[in-house]
Amino acid sequence: MTTRIQAQGGLKVFRRGPDLFRILCGVASVLTVATLAWMVFEITHQSLPAIHKFGFGFITDGRWVPNRDAFGILPFLVGTSVSAFIAILFALPLGLAVAIFLSEDFLAPPIRQFIRFTVEMLAAIPSVVYGLWGIFVVIPLVKIFGQWAVVTFKGVPILGTLFAPPAYGNSMLTASLVLALMILPTITAISRAALVAVPATLREGSYALGATRWETILGVLLPTAAPGIVAATILALGRAMGETMAVAMLIGNSSRLTSSLLSPAGTLAGLLANQFGEADGLQINSLMYAALVLMALTLLVNVLGEAVLRYTQRQTAGIR
């Protein structure tokens, strides 16, 4: 190796002249960071009047009444968190199951490839199409379920609260279900890549010790691929929290705080999309403040995710 490089004129060949590539990369990364900093600055700057007026109470106040200059985002904060959480609740088991299925040799490679391609295609569908599909397909189904659920779970302790009447079609449940579908490809694609990357020797070792396929999957493959699966979940959670169009079309855009999944609710991103166009004065400042909170929430999720990722990486370092 060394002799070949020397034959070409030594390592110095690569160091001659200005390193254009390095400069380009450097400028690109500085620009990216600067753009983000600029956005944060601009949003913070514009939200200052609202920050001064409402302070921390903005987050704990449950009333958003533009014509009374009362602005509190608790219902939207809860809406964003709950819809993302329910979406993960549905999408993680499903996405992981698809990822396992596609990383094993249950099917012939061309068919696996086809299914993989189809699932990943879900990520390419525009948000507004998910919204329309939700209106025409998911809403009628949720309405049927809702009418059944409010009768069946009436008086049952927790379920009775979660499925309290009146049952609307445009509801938290509808939005969460469509969100789950939207984040499915993220979870599947990254988890599958992590599972495929598990060294073949581990699998062979497990079989050699007499483990069945399912014991191998659950006891060896999944723990080894855990960092990748965690990363997939965080990315998916981030997408679910920031999703705007489809959610605004399906969630019913209400600013009332309810415990029922069958009631209309609202999210921060939806609030911004709905009200920014015609907002004025303090309402604009408050919307900017809401945007700031949404950014902080996303940052928090990413930091937590990073911490969990590092922890799982440490835990599984020995077996990889």
């Binding site: 014509n67 209106i135 939806g270 907002a279 309402q283």
Partner: protein, 348 residues
């Protein structure tokens, strides 16, 4: 074709360079060319304004009107900033906004067309549902929750109303439609004024929100038992059922071109032409109606542009009104047109 190709294949030829330069100058100058008028504002009258633009262009091929429906609020902002030749707003301009227009320009508000809002609902088999003032206020305050409530029954004798819950649909985005609707309900009921109030976006105690007229229309169409407020043209175009609602005189009025025209005909307009028939008193007035305004500057520096703009607005106020009905708008009554024309004459 060949000559053109060789022409451009020889980039050193001075004439080519001059030509390219003149192309560039033309391209840069195009937006401020005299025949171009740019406007922005309300979404509600946008289909009519765009139709006017097309029809006027057929008559006057040298004048091109470009109207962007960005919303009333954004339209007023652009008008104040001076980035458009005219603005448009469903809520005209309030005094604070008028004060922001540079004093050397000034603003003139010209009613250009009008519309009514309907309570559209979805109750299969029950057409022309009558809603008293007490009933529709109660529904939007969440006090009346079932279709067979006594208050609704009272106005609809002999109609077999279902005992199903009432789902309310409202606009989730800030909108002049919500402003006009809540303004009327606040005038009808003190409770509504206290609990909800009047604005472009308010917080209703019940219901689900849809984005835009189309969002509310979707909510109503999807679920039997839903009621919401939409523009008349939208409800008509989508075949929605429309409620017959009680006016101040106690008469039940069907939303239609003539009942809307009656309301506008009875309106008193102040000097600045900014007024709403908040709760019209005429016996046959449809109760929820509004004008929508074009916003012009008092003075234009460019004489050619001024002539084009005045020509267009004059035509819109007269010949242009005949396109209103087809698109679901209410043509302006003659008295309002006369006042609009007088206001237009002050633009210099």
């Amino acid at each position: 074709m060949i000559s053109l190709a060789t022409h451009f294949l020889n980039p050193m030829k001075p004439s080519t360079l001059t030509q390219l330069a003149s192309f560039a100058v033309l391209a840069l100058a195009a937006p401020s060319h005299a025949g171009q008028l740019s406007g922005a504002g309300a979404t509600f009258p946008a289909p009519l304004y765009q139709r006017w633009s097309v029809e006027y262009n057929k008559l006057h091929p040298d004048v091109k009107v470009n109207y962007q429906s960005v919303g009333s609020g954004a339209g007023v902002k652009q008008f104040i900033a001076g980035t458009v030749d005219f603005g448009a707003s469903d809520a005209a301009m309030n005094d604070a906004e008028l004060a922001k227009v540079p004093a050397n320009k000034g603003a003139v508000m010209i009613p250009a067309t009008a519309g009514i809002e309907v309570l559209a609902y979805n109750l299969p088999g029950i057409d022309n549902l009558k809603l008293s003032r007490e009933a529709f206020v109660g529904i939007f305050l969440g006090k009346i929750t079932k279709w067979d409530d006594d208050i609704i029954k009272k106005a609809n004798p002999g109609v077999d109303l279902p005992s199903t819950p009432i789902n309310v649909a409202y606009r989730s985005d800030g909108s002049g439609t919500t402003f006009i609707f809540t303004q009327h309900l606040s005038a009808v009921s003190k409770d509504f004024a206290d609990q909800v109030g009047t604005d472009k976006s308010v917080t209703f105690p019940v219901g689900a929100g849809g984005k835009g007229n189309e969002g509310v229309t979707a909510l109503i169409k999807q679920s039997p038992g839903t009621i919401g407020y939409v523009e008349y043209g939208y409800a008509k175009g989508n075949g929605l059922q429309m409620a017959v609602i009680e006016n101040k005189s106690g008469n039940f009025i069907k939303p239609a071109d003539d009942s809307g025209a009656a309301t506008l005909g009875h309106m008193e307009l102040p000097a600045n032409l900014r007024a709403w028939p908040v709760d019209p008193t005429g016996a046959d007035d449809y109760p929820i109606a509004s004008l929508t305004w074009l916003l012009l500057y008092g003075k234009y520096a460019d004489a050619a542009k001024l002539a084009d703009l005045k020509g267009f607005v004059e035509w819109a106020l007269t010949d242009g009104q005949k396109f209103s009905t087809d698109l679901g708008y209410i043509p302006l009554p003659a008295a309002v047109v006369a006042k609009s024309q007088a206001a237009l004459a002050t633009v210099k």
